[in-house]
């Protein structure tokens, strides 16, 4: 009881960083929706310049959120305003690209009928594209908000305020009880946001709650000492990007480390996620087992890669192993949930036919459920690999090695030209992986 009370007392001062983190996510998301939806409509309605917009959104999305946060902290200064700016840019790109693709997937007949009336692009979007895809838009929007809350912790880790800054402080001060409390708060926050996401799917008007919270945060967290001239000077100091001879020769190893963290982290996450998903699917095991396994997966998912990284760097030491484990544990949470849903969604008839031969549960899983779910499983895994290339750069910044660590060190030492060179290299490898996985996904969808 005393411990509980002590915990509660310790938690009270954390209300401010919790509010900051939640506010950053709301404000970033509000800006992203306001900017991203018109861009998505422009892409979907093939407005003039839509190819350029689509390419720009894809390119912008390839910059990891933490990298954006570092740039924002350098230009705007420490504090939540930098976090909001980073989240706003990252999620504008994400909303613009994914909403654009979802709008493009709308059934063509009703859209053609609207075009035949002579309606303009905005009318076609308002009366056709958006209502026709509202379910998918809401579903993805809720997922993006869920990610934004985790990302607001991540951007906090480089000085953008909120729980992330508190967490890094606690771990650096070796105060693990405080760090554990912060992680617990984060898990609860993500669970609340998850519930809010379900609410949005049922009552889309709940999205309107973002407006007052987002506007209030934007006002409260506005940059206090922002000077346009200073920002421009800082930007000027970043150009041209530059790497010296030693940095250039170390580059292949850094790239290899980052790629290894992403690939092995995804493989670890996929392996743990696969076996956990089998005992998290309602169609395979009883509900009581599902309830326990799903909560475990939710917890693994609620802790962002960077937080896993901070914990693991302390326990297994600095280096790529910590990065691989960090990505693996978080990915296990994400993939476990998605795999379990894929197992639940397979066509029932072949499963019933295999079970009707008297096959054991494991044989039925091996001969029916897994082969039938293989397509979605492969697509989820490739999406995760794409995401983990960004995350590998991010966990690198907290000591897991690779290009992320080099980038973070450059920022800490104010070597801005080197930092920007690493930002561009990170962007290029993420973009290359995006293109590769997009092609592989396309091939999987074709089969």
């Amino acid at each position: 009881m005393n411990a509980l009370l002590e915990g509660a007392v310790r938690a009270v001062p954390l209300l401010v960083p919790v509010a900051q983190t939640f506010g950053m996510a709301c404000a970033g998301m509000l800006v992203a929706l306001v900017a991203g939806i018109p861009l998505a409509v422009a892409v979907a309605t093939r407005a003039p310049g839509y190819r350029f917009i689509a390419t720009a959104l894809g390119a912008l999305r390839a910059i990891p959120d933490l990298t954006l946060a570092i740039l924002a902290v350098v230009v705007i200064g420490l504090g939540p305003a930098a976090g909001i700016a980073a989240l706003a840019v990252f999620y504008t790109a994400m909303i613009g690209k994914v909403f654009g693709e979802l709008l493009l997937a709308a059934p063509s007949a009703p859209v053609d009928a609207l075009k035949a009336t002579g309606a303009g692009r905005v009318s076609i979007a308002a009366f056709g594209l958006i209502p026709l895809t509202s379910r998918d838009l809401l579903s993805f929007g809720a997922y993006a908000f869920d990610c934004a809350v985790r990302a607001s912790v991540i951007v906090g880790a480089v000085g953008a305020g909120g729980l992330g800054t508190e967490l890094v402080g606690a771990i650096n001060a070796l105060d693990y009880r405080r760090a554990a409390l912060l992680i617990l708060i984060l898990v609860v926050m993500v669970a609340v946001v998850d519930a809010f996401g379900s609410l949005i799917r049922r009552y889309p008007r709940a999205t309107l709650a973002l407006i007052p919270i987002g506007l209030l945060t934007l006002w409260v967290d506005r940059p206090q000492f922002f000077a346009f001239g200073h920002a421009l000077t800082t930007f000027a100091k970043m150009l041209p990007p530059q790497l010296n001879g030693a940095e250039l020769s170390a580059l292949p190893l850094l790239l290899l480390q980052t790629a290894a963290i992403a690939v092995f982290g995804t493989a670890l996450g996929a392996s743990i996620g696969f076996f956990t998903a089998l005992i998290a699917a309602r169609t395979i095991v009883p509900f009581a087992v599902v309830a326990v396994t799903r909560r475990l997966l939710d917890t693994a998912r609620a802790i962002p890669e960077v937080v896993w990284g901070l914990i693991l760097v302390v326990s297994v030491g600095i280096g790529p192993i910590a990065g691989i484990l960090a990505l693996g544990f978080h990915s296990a949470g994400v993939l476990g949930k998605l795999y379990a849903e894929s197992f639940e969604n397979v066509v029932k008839e072949p499963v019933a036919s295999i079970a009707a031969t008297g096959a054991s549960t494991v044989s039925t899983i091996a001969y029916a459920i897994v082969p039938l779910a293989f397509g979605p499983l492969a697509i989820h895994t490739l999406f995760r690999l794409e995401w983990n290339v960004r995350a590998a750069a991010v966990v690198g910044m907290i000591g897991a090695g690779g290009i992320g660590q080099a980038l973070f060190n450059a920022q800490q030492l104010f070597f801005y030209k080197t930092m920007v060179a690493y930002v561009l290299i990170t962007w290029a490898i993420v973009l290359a992986f995006d293109i590769l996985t997009e092609r592989l996904r396309g091939r999987e969808l074709m089969t």
């Binding site: 019933a352 008297g358 044989s363 082969p371």
Partner: protein, 237 residues
């Protein structure tokens, strides 16, 4: 061999029972056609015999064993004796034809054996799959990807899988509903011939009354969950 006594099946929330006091006796090696409109209870009847649907009242006996009282391993043991063929969608497209065919052996294989077969099939096991495919006249499809099969070929593979199961009865749920009449005739003829040759009982639900009258020993009319009429026929084949 199969005996249904006053069987009642009631789905939760349904206004009327799916099966309402059904009585049916099927002897070993006998072929029985169930005919009736959609939603009359034919599929439920077949699934009840296989223990896939819980019985609300009455009993289903297979060689004197009450299906409704079996659970877990015992129920799986019984299912190995009753093969099922569905209308469509019951093959796994990502597996090859031989893997789908040998899935019929899963009831008699250990789990380790089943997993090993997916990766390293033995020649003797492939011979068994080939022999089953020869009986349904498509041995050349042994290694073919299942997704490339035509509708008729898929049903032949489903029959081959049922034969590999070495069952005492086959429960076929509208196996030719998605095929054209000419192909449907071939498949029903093949199914009846193979089951008679092997002494396997066949209970088959059908929409086509003509098929039922032409090929089956007995025709049973299912209507609103009851067996309204039972008539014996001399098979033409």
């Amino acid at each position: 061999m199969i005996s249904l006594r006053d069987v009642v099946v009631r789905y939760p929330g349904a206004a009327r029972p799916a099966l309402d006091g059904v009585n049916l006796e099927v002897a070993a090696g006998e072929t029985v056609a169930l005919v009736g409109p959609s939603g009359s209870g034919k599929t439920t009847l077949l699934r009840t015999i296989n223990g896939l649907v819980p019985i609300s009242a009455g009993s289903v006996l297979v060689d004197g064993i009450a299906v409704g009282e079996l659970r877990g391993r015992a129920l799986r043991g019984l299912r190995t004796r009753l093969a099922m063929i569905a209308q469509h969608h019951d093959l796994v497209d990502r597996l090859s034809v031989h893997q789908n065919v040998m899935a019929g052996a899963l009831g008699r294989w250990s789990t380790a054996h089943a997993l090993r077969y997916l990766v390293f099939p033995l020649e003797s096991e492939l011979d068994e799959a080939r022999a089953a495919l020869e009986r349904v006249s498509i041995p050349e499809k042994l290694w073919a990807p299942t997704r490339e099969l035509s509708g008729g070929e898929r049903q032949r593979v489903a029959i081959a899988r049922a034969l590999v199961q070495q069952p005492e009865a086959i429960l076929a749920d509208e196996p030719v509903a998605s095929l054209d009449p000419r192909l449907g005739t071939q498949i029903i003829g093949l199914l009846c011939r193979l089951t008679r040759e092997s002494g396997i009982a066949l209970i088959c639900s059908l929409h086509q009354v003509q098929f039922a009258q032409d090929y089956f020993d007995r025709v049973v009319l299912v209507e609103r969950g009851s067996l309204c009429e039972v008539e014996s026929k001399q098979p033409v084949t």
